[in-house]
């Protein structure tokens, strides 16, 4: 086996040093297990594994090969080549959690930079060093609001990504907390404000929301605060924060989101990276890992994992979360891509996304049988189409266009079969838009 350095003579010498005749003697305690064989194939050479997995990969249709308009929580953007090059450097890729800070300053410094970038984007005071993804981060935000307010009932906007809402509902149900979910809110007309009372721990609102609408959170923030509740603001498209008013400026107490769209591939849904920011006063209630600045014995600046008294390895069943690992490498990809973009680049990228989406919306609304529903949006919007959107998407896929996400795939059995989410980023060309319009016209 090419990955195993020990030779048979090494093994013999080592067994002699240990004082056993056979390696099986080391497994004597495990004999409780029946020694039944494992019906697994023999190992393959590198070439054989490449062939096997390449054949599987070839059965999928990559987004880059076709006009592509799917979003709904994961977005395809151009990632500069240097991002992937840098994250594959051995010292990043093959290092572990920075438990020994003196020889992990590379990891710790990028986590500190990542925290600063996330806090700046969200216009919040502090951010943690990454969560698994946006959906689990959202559930963690709910639990954090429960810890802070000592209340256990969350109110979920109908514009929240359905998977995020489902994760929150699952966690709440099994943690014996309560969740009130508002009905799907396609055009951002729901009345959250009147539903907030003194029993609510937090309101969770997404902007841009699942249907693409931008939300002004100021009124709901004010209402939450009047009732002693927290406002949790969610986003699934981090690029939007280059163009729109950040949640922190609108009164959010916790901001969580998906960081995939900066630096990270689509990867069929994971691994992604959760972004999590809040106000300084709540920092000790924050889940997950934190990196902090300090000095070394010579007085030089350095970084360490800190405030670990909140964490599972010290607090065990009293910990603020059970999070141990995080998405360090995905956070690094985010950090590098954001560094390459810078403020000016991010703003241009965000405007380019919005411009492309507006152009597409303007073309689509001319098609009979297609009705754009949004009054505002960033790079994704909802269409009402004639007939069943899921079937339409299948028909277009067969013709080489990945047209968008049918709402019914995420919200089944709700009578929303004629709704289609369409996302447009900087990757879409005039030809892509023309292809979508032509195929839609042909299919409807």
């Amino acid at each position: 086996m090419r990955y195993h350095p020990l030779t048979d003579s090494d093994r013999a010498a080592m067994l002699a040093a240990v004082g056993v005749a056979d390696v099986d003697e080391l497994f004597a305690d495990t004999s409780a297990a029946p020694a039944s064989g494992f019906a697994l194939p023999p190992g393959k050479s590198e070439l054989e594994v490449e062939r096997h997995l390449s054949r599987l990969a070839a059965r999928n249709l990559p987004a880059g090969q076709v006009p592509f308009f799917i979003g709904a929580g994961a977005y395809r953007h151009h990632v500069p080549a240097s991002v992937d090059h840098l994250i594959q450097r051995s010292e990043f890729l093959t290092s572990y959690t920075p438990y020994q800070p003196e020889i992990s300053q590379g990891t710790l410094q990028y986590l500190f930079e990542f925290q600063t970038q996330v806090a700046a984007l969200a216009a919040m005071e502090v951010a943690n060093a990454s969560m698994y993804d946006g959906s689990t981060g959202c559930a963690e935000a709910m639990l954090m609001a429960h810890r802070i307010t000592k209340r256990r009932k969350a109110l979920l906007s109908g514009g929240l990504h359905p998977h995020y809402a489902e994760v929150a509902r699952t966690v709440a149900r099994l943690a014996e907390d309560e969740v009130v979910s508002l009905a799907p809110d396609i055009v951002a007309q729901e009345d959250i404000v009147s539903r907030v009372d003194d029993s609510i721990s937090c309101v969770i609102v997404q902007t841009p929301d699942f249907f693409g609408n931008l939300r002004d959170l100021r009124a709901v923030a004010e209402t939450c605060h009047r009732h002693g509740a927290l406002l949790v603001a969610v986003f699934t498209e981090a690029v939007s924060l280059g163009l729109v008013t950040p949640p922190g400026e609108m009164g959010a107490d916790i901001v969580v989101g998906e960081g995939q769209s900066i630096g990270n591939a689509l990867s069929f849904g994971g691994p992604y990276v959760g972004l999590f920011a809040t106000r300084r006063e709540f920092v000790r209630q924050m889940p997950g890992r934190l990196c902090g600045e300090t000095v070394d014995a010579d007085g030089r600046r350095g970084f360490v994992l800190t405030l670990s008294t909140r964490e599972q390895h010290i607090r065990r069943d009293k910990a603020t979360s059970n999070i141990c690992t995080n998405s360090g490498l995905c956070a690094l990809a985010f950090n590098i891509h954001m560094t390459l973009l810078g403020e000016a680049g991010l703003r241009r990228l965000a405007r380019r996304n919005h411009a492309n989406a507006v152009a597409l919306r303007n073309m689509l609304r001319e098609i009979p049988g297609v009705e754009p529903l949004n009054r505002s949006f960033f790079n994704e919007f909802t269409l009402r189409v004639k007939g069943d959107a899921a079937e339409l998407v299948e028909r277009l896929a067969a013709r080489g266009v990945l047209a968008g996400a049918p709402v019914s795939r995420l919200i089944p059995n709700a009578g929303l079969d004629d709704l289609l989410l369409v996302a447009s980023t900087e990757i879409n060309t005039d030809e892509d838009r023309a292809a979508l319009v032509a195929e839609l016209k042909g299919a409807l």
């Binding site: 020990l6 090494d10 010498a13 080592m14 039944s36 023999p42 190992g43 490449e50 997995l53 990969a57 880059g64 395809r76 240097s82 840098l86 994250i87 890729l93 959690t97 003196e102 020889i103 992990s104 410094q109 930079e113 925290q115 600063t116 984007l121 060093a129 998977h163 994760v167 931008l214 163009l243 729109v244 591939a265 689509l266 069929f268 994971g270 691994p271 920092v283 902090g292 600045e293 300090t294 070394d296 360490v304 800190t306 405030l307 008294t309 607090r315 059970n322 490498l329 995905c330 390459l340 973009l341 810078g342 403020e343 680049g345 241009r348 405007r351 507006v358 009054r375 949006f377 998407v393």
Partner: protein, 504 residues
């Protein structure tokens, strides 16, 4: 070699030859600089509903060459498995084959959207099916939940399945206790508490393992589950596991096995045969998906026949030639959804590449080599370092304590920091908590005999120096790392969690 000055002479800049000091990007970047060319769009009528950002963000940028230099310099302040041995017990850092990286980056895996029509991702679903087959064969369990994003997330998932099964039996109000050994990973009690369970500690015997008799006196109609790590965090195999499983199951509870240490027995023993009901599998530990300074992980959960109906959404189903991912949370008795989309596909491909490369026999060999290496380290350090449970055969990691250092003035922390100066990443220290001043060494199957011999010789040399009263060397360590000992108390007392140098 150790008889050098206590600190290297300072340079004028703080740089040391190839090791360069690197400022924060906020100190060298400028808001107008960008390393990405994005065209400004032509003027157009926006649809932002009056919510355009009004204030600066505060994000400096770097050009592409500056970016490369910044991160390359940062990378050089990191230790990595490619640079040297990483004997981090219970965390496991082994060789990360680059083939895995190459496969995960195939456009057919990396560049597909989780919500593409399922007809366009049949190869991805087949990869998930193959991974499932491998993991169920290795564990002899019934069903696999793929969506957990990390081992600790898998713990939550497994406990949710248990809680759902208890609810289906109408025993939610009565079964509130989860038994967790003192030596367990901290994530175990944290996960149980998060779901509203009451955590009750189970002692380990003087031999470092949990005894069936102690479990017998703790189980009852109020126990929902026991969470056992096997091999345990002391590096020992829980010999009573079969009896413990039987006791818990007969009392109506479920047996959760923390699969963090599956890499000791993969291909050799099957958890399902011991009576395990749920077990998460840390793909990064056993199947070498890279960790990148702390994740991403992946923690699929294997479930027994008793718990299989309670797997969360989505569920992978084969219908003849076609594979289907059922995303409906109302499907069957599943307890809902624990993350958006379908799991860590990028990690699935890496783990599958690793499994295919090894084959069943290769995985068994990896387990044997990992266990042999740990026992070799144990045997070769015999007479120097002390072990809390005596000089017993261990599994893939070997646990020492600090009794042997008593009176030397050198602590476990000092000893670990001195290892850094000798070119090694220290072992896991102060874990498990049951051993005083614990040092947990996991060499893995990735080390050659020559590498192990050098490591052992280094530890022996350091040990002899410590015992000969040269404690000052240890207190001053590390002297040659990018940083000397960092003030963690200051970091916690006055938290600085972001760069505050500019306007925010």
């Amino acid at each position: 070699m150790l008889d050098q000055p206590k600190t290297a002479p300072a340079t004028f800049t703080g740089n040391r030859a190839l090791e360069m000091e690197e400022p924060l990007l906020f100190e060298i970047g400028r808001p107008e600089t960008s390393g990405v060319d994005v065209e400004e769009p032509e003027p157009f009528e926006d649809c932002l509903g009056g919510l355009e950002r009004q204030r600066p963000i505060g994000l400096p940028g770097l050009s592409e060459p500056e970016t490369l230099r910044h991160y390359v310099r940062l990378s050089r302040m990191n230790y990595s498995i490619d640079a040297g041995m990483y004997p981090l017990g219970s965390c496991t850092m082994k060789h990360n084959p680059r083939l895995n990286e190459k496969m995960a980056r195939l456009a057919g895996f990396a560049d597909i959207h989780p919500l593409q029509p399922q007809s366009t991702v049949q190869g991805a679903l087949e990869a998930m099916e193959q991974l499932t087959h491998w993991l169920l064969t290795l564990t002899n369990m019934e069903a696999l939940a793929l969506s957990p994003k990390a081992g600790a997330h898998g713990e939550i998932c497994g406990l949710m399945a248990i809680k759902s099964a208890i609810a289906a039996r109408g025993e939610t109000a009565t079964r509130k206790i989860v038994l967790v050994p003192q030596s367990a990973h901290g994530t175990n009690p944290a996960s149980a508490a998060l779901l509203g369970f009451e955590v009750r500690s189970v002692p380990a015997g003087d031999d470092g393992i949990v005894h069936a008799e102690d479990v017998a006196s703790a189980v009852g109609p109020d126990v929902a589950a026991i969470m056992l790590t096997n091999p345990n965090t002391c590096g020992l195999f829980e010999r009573d596991i079969g009896r413990i499983a039987k006791l818990v199951r007969e009392a109506g509870g479920y047996f959760y096995c923390d699969g963090a240490n599956l890499n000791a027995i993969a291909g050799l023993a099957r958890p399902g045969d011991f009576g395990v009901d749920a077990m998460h599998i840390n793909l990064h530990k056993t199947f070498s998906t890279p960790h990148g300074g702390g994740g991403p992980g992946a923690g699929p959960v294997a479930l027994s026949a008793r718990l299989a109906p309670f797997a969360p959404a989505p569920v992978l189903i084969r219908k003849g030639e076609k594979l289907e991912l059922n995303e409906d949370v109302e499907y069957g008795q599943g307890f809902g959804r624990i993350a958006a989309f379908h799991g860590q596909m990028g990690m699935f491909v890496r783990a599958l590449a690793y499994m295919l490369s090894h084959g069943g026999d290769g995985l068994a060999q990896a387990s044997r080599d990992a266990v042999l290496s740990a026992n070799y380290v144990r045997a070769k350090l015999r007479g120097l370092m002390s072990a809390p449970y005596g000089d017993r055969i261990c599994m893939h990691e070997v646990l020492f304590d600090d009794a042997w250092l008593s009176g030397s003035g050198v602590t476990t922390l000092d000893f670990a920091k001195a290892m850094i100066d000798e070119g090694y990443h220290p072992m896991t220290i102060y874990f498990p908590l049951v051993a005083h001043g614990a040092m947990l060494i996991e060499p893995t199957e990735s080390e050659s005999k020559a590498s192990l011999d050098l490591f052992i010789a280094t530890l022996r040399r350091l040990g002899e120096k410590a015992l000969s009263g040269e404690s000052e060397l240890f207190h001053a360590a590390p002297r040659y790392a990018p940083r000397r000992r960092l003030d963690e108390t200051l970091a916690a007392r006055k938290p600085v969690l972001r760069w505050e140098g500019g306007a925010t």
